[in-house]
């Protein structure tokens, strides 16, 4: 069953998150006015992205300058001879016409740029065909690429409050790290401003407080946290109501952090010893 919708309602970053978390394999077809795109995923990772039909053929490698037309022709002949569903990428790697790293980096750059451009689409229909694989003669990346960085980069290009507000309705909400970021958080690269926000996340401060402390505006702070949220690094919660003050605590300096107690340090020591 295909998943269909519109990225106006379910953003591309949200869809990538779904593909990633669900370890989806398949083809995501997108259409905006007269533009189309297709992204192929294998177990949640990107293996091919194209904005033009001709980019899904071996000729792309000639256009990108990593193969000559003669080399491509020879590779295509080998493909036909070997048959049995052997892929262009497999034949290329076996023939050692170009190093695997070169093939990977060239295709990865091309694919990533193709995806980044899609984040600028304000709307567009999508259809995800589960299990669909690219044609064997498509220039598939040898190593599938995790989508977290695509999400982060995509979110950097979001400039609408509306989409962010869907997930972060108020700046009075508190941001905390999720307990088990797991595999999903690996390899995410942060820009300095994102990093500043990341370092301020403590499970207590609201988005408004983080915005104030980082000197970033509410919008930029929310946009950055939206990126973390979409990439599965953090969760955003309503700020808990403060507990009623006990008589002994009444009048205490609530903003002043308590000095560290020996008992607390000993608890940490005992825990580390027992690990």
């Amino acid at each position: 069953m295909a998943l269909v919708g519109n990225i106006r309602d379910f953003g591309l970053s949200d869809f990538l998150y779904l593909v990633d978390r669900g370890y989806k394999t398949g083809g995501l077809h997108l259409k905006h006015n007269d533009e189309t795109a297709i992204l192929f995923f294998e177990r949640g990772k990107l293996i091919l992205a194209s904005r033009k039909d001709e980019d899904r053929k071996g000729e792309l490698l000639v256009r990108l300058g990593v193969l000559s037309a003669e080399q491509l022709s020879s590779v295509m002949q080998q493909m036909q001879q070997r048959g049995n569903g052997v892929t262009l990428t497999q034949v290329l790697l076996d023939s050692q016409l170009l190093p695997a790293e070169k093939l990977q980096s060239t295709l990865q750059t091309h694919n990533e740029e193709s995806v980044y451009g899609l984040f600028g689409w304000p709307e567009g229909e999508f259809r995800f065909e589960q299990g669909q694989k690219p044609a064997t003669d498509s220039p598939v990346m040898p190593v599938p690429v995790p989508v977290e960085n695509l999400i982060m980069e995509g979110v950097r290009r979001i400039d609408e409050w509306g989409r962010i507000k869907d997930r972060i309705p108020s700046t009075d909400m508190v941001v905390k790290f999720i307990d088990q970021p797991g595999e999903k958080a690996k390899g995410v690269k942060l820009a300095p401003e994102e990093w500043r926000v990341f370092a301020r996340i403590n499970g207590r401060d609201t988005l408004a407080e983080i915005a104030q402390k980082t000197n970033l505006g509410d919008f930029d702070t929310c946009r950055i946290v939206y990126g973390f949220l979409t990439a599965g690094l953090v969760e955003v919660l309503k700020k808990p109501k403060p507990a009623p003050l006990t008589s002994s605590a009444r009048g205490a300096q609530v903003t002043e952090p308590p000095r560290l107690k020996k008992s607390l340090v000993n608890r940490i020591i005992n825990r580390i010893r027992g690990m």
Partner: protein, 176 residues
């Protein structure tokens, strides 16, 4: 839930990621990719590496471990990270003396303007060309009361020892 924080710093490739990975109870959130990753080359001006790990001490207490970015251009982030930290581990690649000067700069940054509890972890002691902790103390011009611990960041027991030494330093300074 109370959260306390330790910072793991050191020059590029000192072993910060491995150190945190060895002890963290969660899969370490690492924003650094392998040096061979081409995307790093493409985006090196705009991205930064850091690591984040976590140890649940008790139901009401969590220890966060933050690895700082090694690159000099991100010094300004150290300030942010060091706010409210319990203590600091300075990791040194014992096999690369060319990084010692940078290590000293990092120590100066964290220690000059505040009385931060810290220990130095002489990492990669399993390598044949590693400088010993005593040699490192001299190379880094550290006073005798500063602990310079032998360390292999990929070895959990070794990492535990470093953290425990730091905690003993913190304990001495804490109140009853």
């Amino acid at each position: 839930m109370q959260t306390v924080k330790m910072v793991i710093s050191g020059a590029v490739n000192a072993g910060k990621t491995e150190f945190i990975k060895a002890i963290s109870e969660i899969e370490v959130v690492s924003t650094e990719r392998r040096a061979t990753d081409d995307t790093k080359l493409i985006k090196k001006e705009t991205t930064v590496a850091m690591d984040f790990g976590r140890i649940q001490i008790a139901d009401d207490l969590v220890l966060h471990l933050f690895g700082t970015p090694g690159q000099k251009r991100f010094d300004f982030m150290w300030e942010i990270l060091s706010e409210g930290m319990l203590g600091l581990v300075i990791l040194v690649d014992s096999t690369r003396p060319e990084t010692f000067r940078e290590t000293n700069r990092i120590i100066d940054f964290f220690v000059s303007y505040r009385d931060t509890p810290y220990v130095i972890a002489a990492n990669k002691q399993d390598r044949p060309n590693a400088w010993s902790p005593d040699e490192l103390r001299l190379a880094l011009r550290q006073p005798p009361h500063i602990k310079v611990m032998p360390c292999v960041a990929s070895d959990r027991e070794s990492v535990k020892n470093v953290l425990l030494e730091l905690l003993y330093v913190i304990l001495q300074r804490s109140e009853d």
